[in-house]
Symmetry: C2
Subunit: 475 residues, 2 copies
């Protein structure tokens, strides 16, 4: 695991912590440059910064040891899992430790009779679903990439199946969390509902490693539906496609997934995922689930809605192969967009609005994109009112600022329509500037009071999620 451990380059308090941890954890504590580089950033294009130290935890007790030690010496810690964050969540503060939980990959229990299971924070949804497949169950929340459950909880992740199954908020029963001072706390449990005290599980979900570090998760599971059908429908007009999605939700079709890819995104996907039988125009991808009769009913309803909105023919199939091909293409959308513009970075927006405002938002955003002159494919979870614009950052010196200006314009549009700046990616460092406009200072003050109560030294992922108070003059 790289060269011998280097104390000499560290600042005093980190060096002390490093010595203590190195003594107890050996080579799982490292200053290796390339490992530090790996832990300096997520997938999004946000400024990277190297951790002073990377520590690999193999269980809750390791995490508790690290936090106890860091708490005593005032050293900052950021948790690292799959490294798939797009908002800078995992980028360490100066002189911080990156605490890597990706080796915590045990599935601790599966309770088929209760449709629940318990996993360590480093398990990915892909590996859990492989583990569960023969038992007829699955876990539905599917953010892009090989995200770990720890990170999915910390960012309140969702994905293409949230329209039917909800987000991490709705699919976690309980957590094991290590607090800033190293205390281990169990929240929630295994029951489906409970009215016994503050919802700590809900508080830690979406807290982005700023209130505690999640080490174990009790997850809800779901039975694999009897029948699953995939379908697509293409549209000449973007607004017609959005209206089809909106009506599908409004009439109450219990749709499995409903995703929109605009013309630019389809062009990228056709090239990247070899969807030669498609035209580069706006397309809806659907998934229907249930008994064969229920699926047929749903398909008929949505087909009629699409026809009413000038859909160019509704193609559906129950073949596993076709479904896999389509959803793989959908999950590769971000990579397809990057591949279509070689050498450019992408900034993914994540606006969400109440469904009735979605047509107005998307058509407005499309006009903003055209006015900006920047390529920016649109892809998203339109059944939730949520979509991403993958803004391709031009290579010019002012490219980043131009891309960010488009991002801000999209957020402002969403907020003006009672929306939110992030449906699922989280705040990290990338969306902090919108927190006050979205929540108001009074709500942020409540969040700050909670943060201060649970992490008085501000060692847990400092500089993320909560912007400083307006009158704060020092950190």
């Amino acid at each position: 695991m790289g060269p011998p451990f280097m104390f000499s380059a560290l600042s005093p308090s980190i060096a002390t912590v490093a010595r203590i941890l190195h003594q107890q954890m050996g080579e799982r504590v490292t200053t290796n440059e390339s490992i530090r580089e790996q832990h300096s950033h997520g997938e999004g294009w946000k400024r990277a910064s190297l951790p002073a130290l990377v520590v690999f935890a193999e269980g809750t007790e390791d995490v508790a040891l690290v936090l106890r030690t860091c708490h005593e010496h005032g050293v900052a810690v950021v948790a690292f899992g799959g490294g798939t964050s797009v908002e800078g969540h995992v980028t360490p503060a100066t002189d911080a430790i990156s605490l890597d939980l990706s080796r915590m990959t045990r599935v601790l229990a599966v309770n088929a009779d209760d449709l629940d299971c318990r996993v360590e924070a480093g398990v990915t949804r892909q590996s859990l679903n492989a583990h569960l497949r023969d038992m007829g169950m699955f876990f539905p929340v599917d953010p892009g990439g090989e995200a770990t459950f720890g990170g999915m909880c910390a960012t309140r992740a969702s994905g293409t199946a949230a329209v039917r199954y909800g987000t991490m908020r709705e699919n976690v029963l309980g957590l094991r969390v290590v607090m800033a001072d190293g205390r281990i706390v169990d929240t929630g449990g295994r029951v489906r509902k409970s009215s016994t005290g503050y919802d700590l599980t809900g508080l830690f979900i979406g807290s982005e490693g700023t209130l505690g570090i999640i080490t174990e998760i009790q997850l809800r599971l779901h039975g694999i539906p009897e029948t699953i059908a995939a379908a697509t429908c293409q549209f000449e007009d973007l607004a017609d496609a959005v209206r089809t999605a909106v009506s599908t939700i409004q009439v109450g079709v219990p749709i499995g997934r409903i995703e929109l890819l605009d013309d630019a995104q389809m062009e990228a996907c056709i090239a990247y995922s070899k969807l030669e039988d498609y035209r580069p125009i706006t397309t809806l991808f659907f998934e229907f689930q249930g008994s064969p009769e229920a699926v047929r009913e749903q398909v008929e309803m949505v087909e009629a809605i699409a026809a009413d909105n000038n859909g160019l023919g509704f193609i559906w199939s129950t073949s596993q192969e076709e479904r896999t091909r389509l959803w793989k293409a959908r999950h590769s959308a971000y990579w397809a967009a990057l591949a279509a513009y070689p050498g450019r970075n992408g900034i993914a927006t994540d606006a969400i609005v109440p469904i009735s405002a979605l047509t107005e938002l998307i058509t407005g955003v499309k006009a903003d994109i055209e006015a900006s002159g920047l390529p920016a494919p649109i892809v998203g979870h339109v059944g939730d009112g949520n979509f991403h614009t993958i803004i391709m950052v031009p290579p010019e010196p002012d490219g980043y600022e131009r891309a960010m200006e488009l991002d801000r314009r999209i957020v402002r549009r969403a907020l003006a329509l009672n929306g939110s700046c992030s449906g699922e990616h989280g705040i990290g460092s990338g969306k902090m500037e919108f927190m006050a406009a979205e929540h108001g200072e009074n709500a942020l003050e409540v969040m700050r009071a909670i943060k201060k109560a649970l992490d008085p030294q501000n060692i847990l992922n400092p500089g993320k999620l909560l912007p400083p108070a307006p009158d704060a003059t020092a950190a």
Copy 2:
């Protein structure tokens, strides 16, 4: 509104607050004895204690004024809505103000296109559903009694439809909350999901008025299903009925409701609700929802499961009249039980376990009941793993203690099976003794830290939900 306002009987700090509020709110601030008596207790049989003062709020600004004033003078406040709590939530601390929100009954907005609405805290689910009926929508969470939405949020209420629609946790999008010092905070919003900061909405839901007072609620709504069918099935054996419910959930039938009434409860309901065509044996009440085909499919599946478990014939009907009759009988179960034992008080237990442990729990509880010699009908939301035992308190001097001993035995059984002491009634003062056993001291310390951060003077419903720290020697 009763006799003139009496300052003389009040202790100094309350008298100061009373003078300030009386000046601004006039006769909406009262010391009237019978009004104070009304505000001294909920529906459950918990020790009552009179508030020093009752204040009627007519809007968020009133609540803010009251809290600002009480914060300044260190006076305790407990919110009062429908007064339907069964765990002593609304019973005031000594020298406290009961802040009545039941006049805040405006439906502020209904957004049919987004299936959401905004209500003031004093609106009841019955009045909201009457308001919505012609729009083809409804709100599904249905605790017993005429509960208000403020109280339903504060106790994280559920009811018979939670098995399909979830609890208040899953059906609230956002809140307006007045904090201890009178600041007004908006949490959440109107979007279906968001990853922007701590889940304050979730934190206030279930916080029982100890962190803030909820004044407005943004609710999710649902479309009224195309077809609704009611069904019942009777069983000679309690365990067979529970197994039928458990299998129904385990095979994934999207059941609308599934409620169990044991022999004692059925006997009471037959008398109270004139269900003469039923025998006084264990009975399951079902509701099926969906398209006509979906309902037929579901009925067939559940009928087969019931037959496998010695069900004595499955009777179903789509008639509105029959449904209303059955569910009215179900909702009257608590009153039916009280009526069956005239002159006795009832203590309602609220245990919940993972569904796989439900048969073991209920059969164990039934044995405990028989051993106790106390009448205690069982009724509950078996699809959630949750049920109530209505323990009839005998009139003897040790009657209350005997009833509580049975209650404790039931809770201990549930906790031993990875359960919780309350599925939906909450902690209040009645279940505080179980908090440490259920959550562990570390989790309680986190809850106490949050309470202290948001209500440093402990003026919000003191003495509820959180037991004092084990080493606390003074309040």
